[in-house]
Amino acid sequence: MKTTHSKLAEKFIADEPRTDWHDETLWFVREKRDKAAHGLPEWEQLREWASQIKNHTLSNLSDYLKEFEEKAKANGIIVHWAENGAEHNKIIHGIIQRHKIQKIVKSKSMLTEECHLNEYLQQYNIEVVDTDLGERIVQFRKEPPSHIVLPAIHLKKEDVSATFHEHLGTEKGNNDPQYLTEAARQHLRDKFVQSELAITGVNFAVAETGGFVVCTNEGNADMGAHTAAIHIACMGFEKIIPKAEHLGVFLRLLARSATGQPITTYSSHFQKPRPGQEMHIVIVDNGRSKQLSREDFRNSLKCIRCAACFNTCPVYRRSGGHSYHTAVAGPIGSILNPNLDMKANADLPFASTLCGSCTNVCPVKINIHEQLWKWRQVIAAEGYTDATKKIGMNAMAFLFSKPSLYRFAGKWGRWMMRIFPFVTNNKLNIWYKQREMPESPKESFRDWYLKNGKINRN
């Protein structure tokens, strides 16, 4: 049977204390975001500027990419283009082979997760060491990240301690985050110093300068990129922005939205390779130009991957990132992934109550919850919803469009519920599993109105 969000979520929630902990932890991040946003009276204006800059960029994207390429080349950067994940992986593999590279470090890049780069390279016995602490933890555990900013947020310190004890020989049962982080620091310093090739993501690429910006708190992107003889930066083509001055807008929003920090510790601006270094950029499409063609959904390409929509989402907080069974989880993932594979991800736009909180926190004003609604229409029209749901909806539509039939069914239903409550209070009734049914009154409002409406008016 197909893996769906609801099934995986049910499994996650089965451990209720852990679910509560997950929910509280992410809510805490959301609250930090609120506090940071309150610190700037111009917050809503900043979001509007960011949104408009991104709208403009999408409307002139091909020219900006050409401009970026030209400037980047002039800066001595080698530019590659990949139509899909497979091409992206091949390009990187090619560079590795050409230089006979053994030691590779990678800082966080959701794009490489999306393209499954690590798994691809593993086939050739090439090991990539993820250097972001959270990513290293999940890499040891052979799990995907569950959050695009906080990859190991589904794990407790006991889990990390056990994993590090197994892989790094840390003291058994020592759960102190300080101690565990120090162990990872020592372990990864060795990897950095020996690294021959560093892979990083890109947070922003600037058309006007041909340079790009990578943001981290840990310093792992810099440790790798400034050590290795080769640096490959991978970017989805939507990472482009027109000018350097626009970085001012985006860097003010990014960390505040993501973790509530005023800015990430390091915002590194790569312009040229250092002497003797080889610097590559891989610009990837992988479905993005298709998404650009979808008028209702192209807006999702404005995303700057801050994950504010994850942290605020009441569903994400209670179901965990893995329940979304995709590289990018959460509300934004639920509007990006159906574009990549509609059938496999048909469940995701339904993994939401459409509460709209995601749209409110989005620093670039993506109308996420409206797009979730629209994806539902597309998915139903393409026939990717459950057959039972479709039958039910058809029946409901028929019933409601015939008022007298609706009234008959309502009366009959209420009567059945009163006389034979077991008709609805049974195992087949999903509502009833953890909730009581509403009591069924003798008469509907309409019945009452016909009897009393007039009296009432006098």
Binding site: T25, L40, E42, Q52, H56, L58, S59, N60, L61, S62, L65, W81, E83, L133, G134, I137, L150, P151, I153, L155, K157, V160, P177, Q178, T181, L188, F192, E208, T209, G210, G211, N217, E218, N220, D222, M223, H226, F237, A244, E245, L247, G248, V249, R252, Q261, P262, I263, T265, Y266, S267, S268, Q271, K272, P273, R274, D285, S289, K290, L292, E295
Partner: protein, 194 residues
């Protein structure tokens, strides 16, 4: 056709019609009465240390003591003493042992406690990241209110590399518990010269 042409053509076909760029109104953006005070408050809240000094005399003394202590100390601030130029060509395996680094920053940003450092001010791109402890010197007059002013003052394309650095490296990847000292410097102290 190459991947490049395919992608660019697909984008050109699918992109919406042109909409204008917004005007970023500078007077719609926050300013602080005391930019230094704001800078200090924010930087200290994210794990950095800030010290206001009248001139470099005190810091020079500390620097000399540091050098004499036998620790591996690298200086990239001309006003403090001799520059350790050799670091420019040093390998990571050697730089790994750097205990402390002194660098000069171009400016500080009041809203977020970050400082901008050009590659030329680092001597070696890796230095401010790989050292254990980072000392940064800025002039008080060079603290600007927000990132907007910061980008007006710097030219990101002038050199091969540059970075905003805001405090020591940190992570909260284990249960959201903040730990200072992830992969980069374990401490960052900014000396602000009046």
């Amino acid at each position: 056709m190459s991947a490049r042409e395919n992608i660019l053509n697909a984008i050109a076909t699918n992109q919406p019609s042109l909409v204008p760029l917004p005007v970023i109104e500078r007077n719609a953006v926050i300013d602080y009465e005391d930019r230094y005070a704001q800078f200090k408050t924010v930087l200290e809240s994210i794990g950095g240390k800030v010290k206001l000094i009248q001139n470099l005399t005190e810091l020079k003394k500390q620097f000399i003591a540091d050098k004499a202590s036998g620790n591996f100390v690298i200086n990239a601030v001309a006003d403090l003493g001799e520059l350790d130029n050799q670091v420019a060509s040093m390998q990571a395996s050697d730089m790994e042992k750097v205990e402390k680094t002194y660098i000069k920053a171009t400016l500080g940003v009041a809203e977020n406690g970050a400082v901008w450092v050009y590659e030329s001010q680092m001597q070696n791109r890796l230095l401010p990241f790989i050292c254990q402890h980072l000392i940064i010197v800025i002039d008080k007059k060079d603290i600007v209110a927000t990132m907007h002013q910061a980008y007006e003052s710097i030219d990101v394309a002038k050199e091969g590399f540059g970075a905003f650095i805001a405090g020591p490296s940190k992570t909260a990847d284990i249960e959201q518990s903040l730990v200072i000292g992830a992969h980069g410097a374990r401490s960052a102290t900014v000396y602000v010269v009046e």
